[in-house]
Symmetry: C2
Subunit: 205 residues, 2 copies
């Protein structure tokens, strides 16, 4: 019985690369590709691939959400996340949303075949580097901040002083100071420079 493979990726070169790698492999049946989430869903209405290789970044929807959607409607399908990014949050979220694997785009043919083999047998496969990242559990400690604090944070990032912010938000300067104090505490930093640096790294700004 052949394993039916489908790929969702908006990078033509990646699709072509994988197609060329898998096309003539024994036991693999190439079903084709989609370049965005909606045409993937359209395809699934008529076909039943065993394994979907799914890019994390798609033009219309991210692969993490798409993974959840596909697994909800078609629980039998095995999904392998496909990404250049060896990021803890991505890997974790894909697995949380029902993916059976996560393969980095610099994987070799062997690795890819291995991944497919594993997941069709109901096992989990992760690229070695991805596995390492997941183990290490580099928890980036994303602080929980309130709506108001985020508002103040953005205005600080825009170069406004406490006084400016107070005027803009129609609150007292001391209130802004308090929010700022709480932001520093929550981010575990001791000045504005570190605050803005961390916030941008965590993509809050």
């Amino acid at each position: 019985m052949n394993t039916k493979i489908f790929i969702v990726d908006d990078h033509y070169m990646i699709i072509e690369g994988i197609r060329s790698l898998l096309q003539f492999q024994k036991g693999i049946e190439w079903m084709g590709h989609a370049m965005n989430a909606s045409s993937c869903m359209a395809f699934l209405k008529q076909h039943e691939p065993d394994v979907i290789l799914m890019d994390i970044s798609l033009p219309d929807k991210n692969g993490i959400d798409l993974c959840k959607e596909v697994k909800t409607k078609y629980p039998e399908t095995h999904i392998i996340g496909l990404s250049s990014f060896n990021q803890h949050s991505f890997i974790q979220k894909m697995l949380d949303n029902g993916a059976s694997g996560y393969v980095l785009k610099n994987a070799t043919l062997e690795e890819l075949l291995n991944a497919i083999e594993k997941v069709v047998h109901g096992k989990i496969f992760l690229s070695p580097e991805a596995e390492l990242t997941l183990e290490k559990n580099e928890n980036p400690i994303i602080p929980v901040i309130t709506r108001r604090e985020k508002e103040v944070l953005l205005l600080i990032a825009n170069g406004m002083t406490n006084n400016d912010i107070a005027l803009k938000l129609f609150i007292s300067t001391t209130t802004v100071e308090t929010h700022r104090k709480n932001l520093l505490t929550k981010f575990e930093v001791k000045n504005t420079a570190s605050l803005i640096r961390m916030a941008t790294q965590l993509q809050l700004i």
Copy 2:
């Protein structure tokens, strides 16, 4: 005369994809690939490709620096930047360092062939989206800062105070203040928050 193509990319799937696309094209001679900067340089000691497709992110060195190095030693070679990222700074820096083109990884075969055709004739080729990005963001005003200023900037971003920096660099606090003053002037901002924000946006940090 065939156009000799070489590719530097650490993504096996991309290499495979491009190889499969170009391999049997008329007028194209596939020379092979390197998966990092150093083996690229090693290859160039013995061979003379007409066009190098060069990924921006490589394991040992970034493609921007590699581009400069290659163009310095082998000015005749045409380089096409290859990246998933449609980012102004990347495109700009590649062109500044002598690249003749910038192609996004979701490009079609036609686009890629077009790019190769253009650059071997001494012209510049950019993917339409990349061209748009370059036009749109015409004046990002990247300030020219000195080595010392950059050093200070990084330390500021690390949360160090003027005093901390002075101790670390064995210079007077007032000197650090002066560097800081000049940074604010050059970035046309009025406080640390904006400075760090701009610097991260311009990818100087």
